[in-house]
Amino acid sequence: MRVLLVEDDATLAEGIARHLRAENFVVDVARNGEDGQHRGDTEALDAVVLDLGLPRKDGIAVLKAWRAAGRAFPVLILTARDGWSDKVDGFKAGADDYLVKPFRVEELVLRLRAMVRRAAGHASARLTCGPLAFDSQLGTFELDGLPLRLTALEWRVLSCLMLRAGHVVERGDLFERVYEGDADVESNSVEVILARLRRKLGVPLIETVRGRGYRLNAPPA
């Protein structure tokens, strides 16, 4: 899951990014409103964590600009202000959730996962695809009822396919959601990860759609 974090405070941004990466998120950090808006406009994102008090362009304006441009990714606003005016204005501008500073990072992770899952159209936290089950709140996979151990990159690829089970995920899209913007990786590395995943799963759940991308399919019962 690729998350854009727009936060001007260096220490806080670094701290949040570190914790989110530890939870297998791909994190891009923008340090001001203009930069944040540009990244949101141009990159494939699963969610955005948006601080409201930003230099150059404030969070509400950035959010409004995204929604006006048709960017539909879920947005969680971070606000230092306790009042309801900011929160309600945030929701009115198109936010999906909010957290008031200071917050616990577990809370942020839970909210982000729930937002991403809801945005993908899943009402329940537990997603299944044949023998494979994904608890989107805890971020754990099970295969035939047994925990599936995955590396961070494998987790990212599989969770991305799982949230869009039955739909084609384009190769470039998948690549963006697995690697951070400045990561220097081989272009065929996603194929390497997919090959490892297919081996771990054993059953042919991941289908390659030639020329387009990949699709997670439930095997015919």
């Binding site: 008090g53 230092a80 306790d82 309600v88 929701f91 500073k101």
Partner: protein
Amino acid sequence: MTLMPRSLAGRLIASALIFIALAILATGFAVQVSLHRFVRGQIDQRLDTEILTLRSSFEPGVDGRLVPARGVEAPPFDDPRTGWIWLARSGATTWMSPGLHRNAPLVAVWPAGPHPEAVMARMPDGSLIRARAQQIVVDGQPLELLAAAPPRAEVGPLRDALAPVVVALLLLGAGLVAATLLQVRLGLRPLARLRADLSAVRTGRRERLPARQPVEVRPLAHEVNELLDQHAANLERARRHVANLAHALKTPLAALALSLEDPARDPDHALRGLTLAMDRRIRHHLSRARTAALGPAARMRLPLAARVADHVAAFTKIHAERGITCLAEIEAGLTVACDGQDLDELVGNLLDNAFKWARSTITITAATAGRRVVLRIADDGPGIPNEAVATVLKPGKRLDEETPGDGFGLAIVQELAELYGGGLTLGRSAAGGLLATLDLPGAAEAPGSDQG
């Protein structure tokens, strides 16, 4: 200076009364003087005629001395009761009308000229009267002639002529006073309207004073509007400052809390507890600072339905998973006289609580009660027992320890509502949950107060 009345109307009326009184007195005096002169002229003419008659009646008698002819006694000189008299003297001989007593002759204050002129004459009783007299020589003999009218001959006609004039002047005075009162009332009406408009601004029924004002009042209204704008700008600045302060304090606090999530740094969570306590205190004081900085001074006319709808949309999104139905039935035209952020705090905290506890349904209704607006938010949650209500409304207290929250949401609502002269009542809803009743000042225009 201390005699000057304190009210403008008093000053205008007092000065107008003084001027009216002076004008009427002066007019009365002038009329009286000219009437007096006219009456006196009439009398003098008559006296001069009498002198002329007397003069022509004197002729030298057989002994060569002057004697009056018969027929001198013409009315009113023939009747002593009328008080009209004449007197003639030639050498040692004196003739006089029946009104004068021979033994106590009128002592004329002479001399007079060859033509009839005014002189003062002393009556037998010692009083001085005005008379007409003439000194001439007839056939070589001196002849002094005098005629006088009684004072009442002057006073009577003068009084008769003055009576209607005085009545007319009094009527004119009364008319002028009435006109002055009316004029003062009309003239000062814009001030009364300005006061009403200003009161409407204070209570939130208007945002500014109307620009259409009489020329004299326009600069005042303009200044007041400028003051209102400046006040609003100061408020905005103070608010931004509080917001910046919140951001400046809480962002590093969030970073601190985050770094303490590493178990190596804070093995027993003691430091985390401290950051939570800091956060609580900052939040408490920021909310106090905001309330204290605002007061209910910045009231505006806020449409209730639209803002409540924004809140409902936000909370429905926050609690999307729980499938809570929130029904808001608020008349579209209903407005409250509140500051926008205060209204958000009131509605936000009440709805936050309702959504936190509701099982499936929240009902929001609003109604006007006189000049107040009553907002009712009912949920179907567990409710709050009567004996616990006082505890909930005490700042910093919270009944639940599991559900996350500030702990003083309802207390804030009560405090804010009281600032607006209203209040928060907690009771039991029809569904057995909590019914929160919020009383706020309405912003409906008072009938006719805006017209002019």
